[in-house]
C-alpha cells in the first residue's frame, strides 16, 4: 500500500481482539496486590446540617483500617476552585451540610469491599434535616431554602450577554415568537462506573492515582491543590481501557481527591469502584434547564434576533467546569443561521439535586432543542414550510470562514449542500405527500427537521465568560485559552514504529486511528505501527486542556499524530539524503523509503535507516539530533481568550449536522414510532468511516434516550426516584432506530488532515428533531412539544388535554422500518 492509502479506510480496530477475548485492562482489572477497599457513606437527605459523626462501631469491626469523615476533609483539604466568583465551598465530601441525596459524608476502608460496606452501615452521622428545593425557578424565590449561607442565594452565577442590538431587532420585528422549554436532567451512564486506586508513598511523598478519568487534565492541578500536593508529587495514571464515559468521567475528580486523601490518611493502597446506585445518585449528569425563548423575524421568515433566558440547575454545588452548561456553545449560539442580534441571560442555580458537568453534547442538546423548536414555531406562525424558513436563514456556503456575532469562527462548511442532501435522502416532498394521506386517514404522522453546528475541541477560554468583563479586566486576572495535544512517533533499533500519546480513549478507537495516520504518513500498514495510548502525568506531555472530551481527538489528536509522523519523515529524508550524498531537495519519501527523485541509486527504507541511525550515530548528518523520533505538539491559534465584549471562539472546529425524521404517534398510548431517520454530517476529512458510523449511531441513541425516555427524577423533598436501571430508562436494542447516514466533506483548514470531531453528533440534534417531528404529528390537535422527555404517559396526557382525537383502536400502519417505543420499565430477566 502506498502512503496515500490509509486515510478514509474502514480499517477494523486493533483494540478489538483484546476486548473481545476478555483481555481488556479496565480500572477494576488492574492487579493491585494488598489493595484495601473503600465504601462511601452517603447522605440520605437532600438537605441537612451535619451535627456529628460516630465512627467507633465501624472502626471496631475486624478488617477495618480507617474511616475518613467530612470533618477530616475540612481539616486536611481545601475546597475545589469553582468557575464563578460566588463563595461556594465545594469539598470532596459534605462538611457542614449535605446538599443532595447521595453526597459523600464519610469513607470506610477495609480489607475487602464486603467488609467495607458492612462497616459503612455502622457509621453514625447525626443530621438535622432541612427543607429542600429542587426546581431551579423555585430556588430563586425569596422564601426558598438557601443551600449555601455564605452565598446567601441559590444563584451561583448570572450573566447577561448582548451581541448586536437585540432591542432594535425586536422593535423592528414583524413577528415575535415566545416559548418556554424544559430540558431534563440526563446522564449518559457509561456501563463502566467510576473507579479509582490510590497509593501514598510517605517516603517520597508521591501520591499515585489510577483512575478511569477522561480529562480535561486541568482537574489535575486543581486536585493536587486540594490535597496540598505539588503537581509533580501527584501521579495520575489512566488505564488503557475505559468502559465508556461521554463526558461523565470528567466529574470524578472530587473522588480522586477523596480516595487520595483516604490513602494518605490510612497508609494503605485504597481501591474504590463505584456501584450503579452511587453512579445514578451522585456521579454527574447534564443540567435540567428551564428556558424562555424569544425570536424576532420578518414576515418573509428572516430571523432578526433572539433572546435566551436560561435557568440551569447544577445541583447542590457548582462544580467545574460548570457553568459550562451555559457557555460551552457560546461561539455557536446562533447555530447555522445568519442573524446578528442576540441577548442571553444565563442563571446558574443550585438546588438539592446531584451535581452536573459535561454530558455528551454538553449544552448543545439543550441549545438546539430550543432553537430548532423556535424555528418551527416561526414557520408555523408564518404558514411556511420549515425547510423554507431554514433555507432563508442559513449561513451561505461562500461565507466561510464565518465569524459569528458571539465570536465563533466556523472554519468551513456547506450547510445548504448538507441540508439538501438530507432532504433528498429523506425524499422530503414525497414524505409530505405521504403525511397528507396519513392525516386524511386520521393518523398522526409528523416530519421533523433539525440543523446543528457541531462544535469540537473546546477552547478552555470559554469558561471565563462566567466572569463579568470588569472582573476579567483586573490586572491580577489571568486570561485563559487553548486546546493542545502531543504525539511522539519513534523508530526502534530494528526499524519498528511506535506512536505514543496521552489521550484517554473510552471506546473511540484511538489506537486504530493513530496507526492509520502514521501508516499513511510513513508508507507502512497500520499493523506495522504499535500505538501506546495511555495517560500518565509523570511521563506524557500534557497540559490543562489534555484529555479526551469535547470531540477533540478527531481534530487535535489526529493533527498532533500527523505532524509528529511528518516531522519524523523529514528527519528520515535528511538522513537518507546524507547517506546518498545528495542534496535534500533531490530526494523524496516514496513508498516507505528515501529515494532519489531521479529514480537512480540506492534507496533507504525505515529499517535501513534504523539499522544505521541507532547502531552507528556517526553516520548521522551533522547538526541532526540523534535518535529516530519526533514529538509534535499541536495547538489551535484560533483559541483565544474571551474578549471584553464577551465574544469567544468557544470551540476550534465546527462541523454540521442536518437531520430529517418522520414519526407516527399513537394517540391511544402516546407511543412514538420512528418511521424514517436521516442524518447527514460534515466532519471534514473522515479518517475511519467505520468508527465514524459507530459514533453517529451511539450519539443518536444517547440523543433519543434524552428525547423519549431518560430523566433523573426527584420528588419535592429531593429524593432521587431513579437510582437503578429499573427506573432510569436506558434504551435497549429494541428502541434503537436504523439510521440513513451520509456525509459531505468540507475539510477544516485548521487541522493537519482536514478532520473535525464528531463524537457528540446526534446528542445535539435528536432531542430537537424528535420534538419537531412529534409536534408536527400532533399539529392537527395543537399539541406542541416544549418539554422532554416525551414519554408515553406525558404525551398521552397532553393529547388527552387537547381534547384527544379519535381514541378508537386502529391498526398501526408503517412508512418503513420502525419500532414502537417502550412504555414500561423492563423486567430484570
Amino acid at each position: 500500500m502506498t502512503s496515500e492509502g490509509w486515510i478514509g479506510k474502514p480499517v477494523t480496530r486493533v483494540e478489538d481482539a483484546r476486548l473481545l477475548t476478555g483481555r481488556g485492562t479496565y480500572i477494576d482489572d488492574l492487579p493491585m496486590p494488598h489493595a484495601h477497599h473503600a465504601a462511601i457513606v452517603r447522605s440520605p437527605y437532600a438537605h441537612a446540617r451535619i451535627l456529628g459523626y460516630d465512627v467507633r462501631a465501624a472502626l471496631a469491626m475486624p478488617g477495618v483500617v480507617g474511616v475518613v469523615t467530612g470533618a477530616d476533609v475540612a481539616a486536611k483539604t481545601k475546597p475545589f476552585a469553582v468557575g464563578v466568583t460566588s463563595p461556594v465551598h465545594y469539598y470532596c465530601t459534605a462538611t457542614d451540610k449535605a446538599r443532595f441525596v447521595g453526597e459523600p459524608v464519610a469513607v470506610v476502608v477495609a480489607r475487602d469491599r464486603y467488609t467495607a460496606e458492612d462497616a459503612a452501615e455502622l457509621v453514625q452521622v447525626d443530621y438535622e434535616p432541612l427543607p429542600a428545593v429542587v426546581d431551579p425557578e423555585r430556588a430563586l424565590d425569596a422564601d426558598a431554602p438557601v443551600l449555601h449561607e455564605k452565598v446567601g442565594t441559590n444563584l451561583a452565577n448570572h450573566r447577561r450577554l448582548v451581541y448586536g442590538d437585540p432591542d432594535r431587532a425586536f422593535a423592528e420585528a414583524e413577528v415575535v415568537i415566545r416559548e418556554r422549554f424544559r430540558f431534563p436532567k440526563i446522564g449518559s451512564t457509561p456501563i463502566e462506573t467510576y473507579g479509582i486506586v490510590a497509593r501514598w508513598d510517605p517516603i517520597d511523598e508521591v501520591l499515585t492515582i489510577w483512575a478511569n478519568f477522561m480529562g480535561p487534565f486541568i482537574m489535575h492541578p486543581l486536585t493536587a491543590r486540594v490535597l496540598g500536593l505539588p503537581e509533580n508529587r501527584m501521579r495520575l495514571i489512566v488505564p488503557q481501557d475505559i468502559g465508556g464515559s461521554f463526558g461523565i468521567k470528567t466529574s470524578m475528580f472530587p473522588y480522586i481527591a477523596l480516595i487520595g486523601l483516604t490513602a494518605m490518611t490510612t497508609g494503605v493502597t485504597v481501591k474504590w469502584i463505584e456501584d450503579r446506585r452511587e453512579h445514578l445518585l451522585a456521579s454527574s449528569s447534564g443540567t435540567d434547564r428551564v428556558a424562555y425563548r424569544e425570536l424576532a423575524a420578518k414576515k418573509d421568515g428572516t430571523i432578526l434576533g433572539m433572546r435566551f433566558r436560561w435557568y440551569d440547575n447544577v445541583g447542590g454545588y457548582i462544580r467545574s467546569p460548570e457553568p459550562g452548561c451555559s457557555y460551552r456553545p457560546l461561539g455557536n449560539y446562533v447555530g447555522p443561521y445568519r442573524f446578528q442580534h442576540l441577548e442571553v441571560e444565563a442563571s446558574t442555580v443550585m438546588t438539592n439535586k446531584s451535581l452536573t458537568g459535561p454530558n455528551r453534547g454538553y449544552a448543545c442538546g439543550h441549545l438546539y432543542f430550543e432553537s430548532e423548536r423556535m424555528v418551527d414555531l416561526l414557520a408555523e406562525k408564518l404558514g411556511m414550510d420549515p425547510v423554507a424558513v431554514r433555507k432563508k436563514n442559513l449561513i451561505a456556503t461562500d461565507a466561510f470562514p464565518y465569524r459569528t456575532p458571539t465570536g465563533g469562527l466556523y472554519d468551513s462548511g456547506d450547510y445548504a449542500g448538507a441540508f439538501d442532501r438530507a432532504l433528498e435522502m429523506a425524499r422530503y416532498d414525497e414524505l409530505r405527500r405521504e403525511q397528507a394521506k396519513a392525516r386524511a386517514a386520521g393518523r398522526y404522522v409528523g416530519i421533523g427537521i433539525a440543523l446543528a453546528v457541531d462544535p469540537s475541541v473546546s477552547n478552555m477560554g470559554y469558561v471565563a465568560t462566567a466572569l463579568d468583563p470588569q472582573f476579567r479586566a483586573k490586572p491580577e486576572y489571568l486570561a485563559k485559552s487553548g486546546a493542545m495535544e502531543a504525539a511522539t512517533v519513534k523508530v526502534d533499533p530494528l526499524g519498528r514504529v511506535t506512536a505514543i500519546l496521552g489521550t484517554t480513549p473510552q471506546g473511540q478507537g484511538h489506537q486504530t486511528i493513530v496507526s492509520q495516520i502514521v501508516a499513511h504518513e510513513l508508507g507502512l500498514t497500520p499493523r506495522d505501527v504499535t500505538v501506546v495510548d495511555e495517560m500518565d502525568t509523570f511521563t506524557r506531555i500534557w497540559s490543562i486542556s489534555s484529555g479526551t472530551y469535547s470531540s477533540r481527538f478527531g481534530s487535535v489528536g489526529t493533527s498532533a499524530t500527523a505532524l509528529a509522523a511528518r516531522k519524523l519523515r523529514t528527519k528520515l529524508v535528511e538522513y537518507g539524503a546524507h547517506l546518498m550524498s545528495l542534496p535534500v531537495d533531490e530526494v523524496e519519501w516514496r513508498e516507505g523509503a528515501v529515494r532519489a527523485k531521479s529514480g537512480k541509486g540506492a534507496s533507504y527504507t525505515i529499517k535501513d535507516l534504523a539499522g544505521r541511525g541507532h547502531w552507528n550515530t556517526e553516520s548521522l548528518p551533522e547538526g541532526i539530533e540523534a535518535g529516530l523520533q519526533a514529538t509534535a505538539v499541536f495547538h489551535f491559534d484560533v483559541a483565544k481568550a474571551v474578549d471584553e465584549h464577551d465574544r469567544v471562539n468557544s470551540s476550534n472546529t465546527y462541523g454540521f449536522i442536518a437531520e430529517v425524521m418522520a414519526v407516527e404517534v399513537d394517540p391511544r398510548t402516546g407511543a412514538v414510532k420512528i418511521l424514517r431517520y436521516v442524518t447527514v454530517h460534515d466532519a471534514g476529512t473522515i479518517i475511519n468511516p467505520l468508527i465514524v458510523e459507530g459514533q453517529i449511531y451511539g450519539g443518536a441513541l444517547h440523543g433519543l434516550g434524552g428525547a423519549l425516555y431518560e430523566d433523573m427524577q426527584y420528588d419535592a423533598d429531593g429524593q432521587c426516584l431513579t437510582a437503578t436501571f429499573m427506573d432510569y430508562l436506558v434504551p435497549t436494542a429494541c428502541e434503537a432506530p436504523t439510521i440513513d447516514i451520509a456525509h459531505v466533506s468540507s475539510p477544516s483548514p485548521l487541522t493537519t488532515l482536514g478532520s473535525k470531531g464528531l463524537g457528540e453528533s446526534g446528542t445535539m440534534t435528536v432531542p430537537a428533531v424528535v420534538a419537531n417531528a412529534v409536534s408536527d404529528a400532533l399539529a392537527p390537535i395543537g399539541v406542541r412539544i416544549n418539554e422532554l422527555p416525551i414519554n408515553p404517559s406525558a404525551l398521552w396526557a397532553r393529547i388527552h388535554q387537547a381534547g384527544g382525537p379519535d381514541m378508537a383502536p386502529r391498526t398501526p400502519h408503517s412508512l418503513g422500518a420502525s419500532r414502537e417505543t417502550r412504555d414500561a420499565p423492563r423486567s430484570a430477566g
Binding site: 476486548l19 473481545l20 477475548t21 482489572d29 450503579r276 446506585r277 459507530g694 435497549t732 436494542a733
Partner: protein
C-alpha cells in the same frame, strides 16, 4: 460474617476450587478468586447484563447469583470463546461489523448472543434485537451488534450442519 465455604466449579472446561464467604457473588468469585476479569460488572442489580455468563449452557447474570449457588456448575465466560489465537466466529463478526466501542458490555453481549443463537440459530432482526435487549450498551447504538449477530448466524448455521 459467616465461615467460608468451598466452591467447586468448572470454568471454560477447567476445574476450579475456592473458598469464599457464602454471600460472595458469583461475578466477584469469577473476577477476584479466579482472576478472570473478562466478565464485567455494570450495575450489580440485574439490569445491564454486562456480567452475563453461561451456566450449564444458559445465559445468566452472575451478579444475581452467589458463588455457592454455582457449586458444581459448568460455566462459560468470554475468555473461553477463542481457541488458541483464533477468534470465535461471533467475536470475528463483532470485529468486522464494529459491534463494540469501549468493550465494556461486550463480554455480556457475546455470551447473550451465543445463547440466543443456540436457542434460535436463524433469528430475524427483530428477534436479535429482542434477544440482546437483555444487555445494555451505551456506545454503539446497537447497530453494529445487530449486524454482527446476523452475520455470525450465517456463519454458524452452515458450520453446524457439517
Amino acid at each position: 460474617m459467616s465461615e467460608p465455604v468451598t466452591v467447586r466449579l468448572t470454568v471454560n472446561g477447567v476445574a476450579h476450587e475456592g473458598r469464599c464467604e457464602p454471600r460472595k457473588l458469583l461475578v466477584d468469585f469469577i473476577r477476584e478468586d479466579l482472576g478472570l476479569t473478562g466478565t464485567h460488572v455494570g450495575c450489580e442489580h440485574g439490569i445491564c447484563g454486562a456480567c452475563t455468563v453461561l451456566i450449564n449452557g444458559e445465559a445468566a447474570r452472575s451478579c444475581l447469583m452467589l458463588a455457592v449457588q454455582a457449586n458444581g456448575a459448568e460455566i462459560a465466560t468470554v475468555e473461553g470463546l477463542a481457541t488458541g489465537g483464533t477468534l470465535h466466529p461471533l467475536q470475528e463478526a463483532f470485529r468486522e461489523h464494529h459491534g463494540l466501542q469501549c468493550g465494556f458490555c461486550t463480554p455480556g453481549m457475546l455470551m447473550t448472543a451465543l445463547d440466543l443463537l443456540r436457542v434460535n440459530p436463524q433469528p430475524t432482526e427483530a428477534e436479535i434485537r429482542e434477544g440482546i435487549s437483555a444487555v445494555l450498551c451505551r456506545c454503539t447504538g446497537y447497530h453494529g451488534i445487530v449486524k454482527a449477530v446476523e452475520a455470525a448466524a450465517k456463519v454458524l448455521v452452515p458450520a453446524k450442519r457439517v
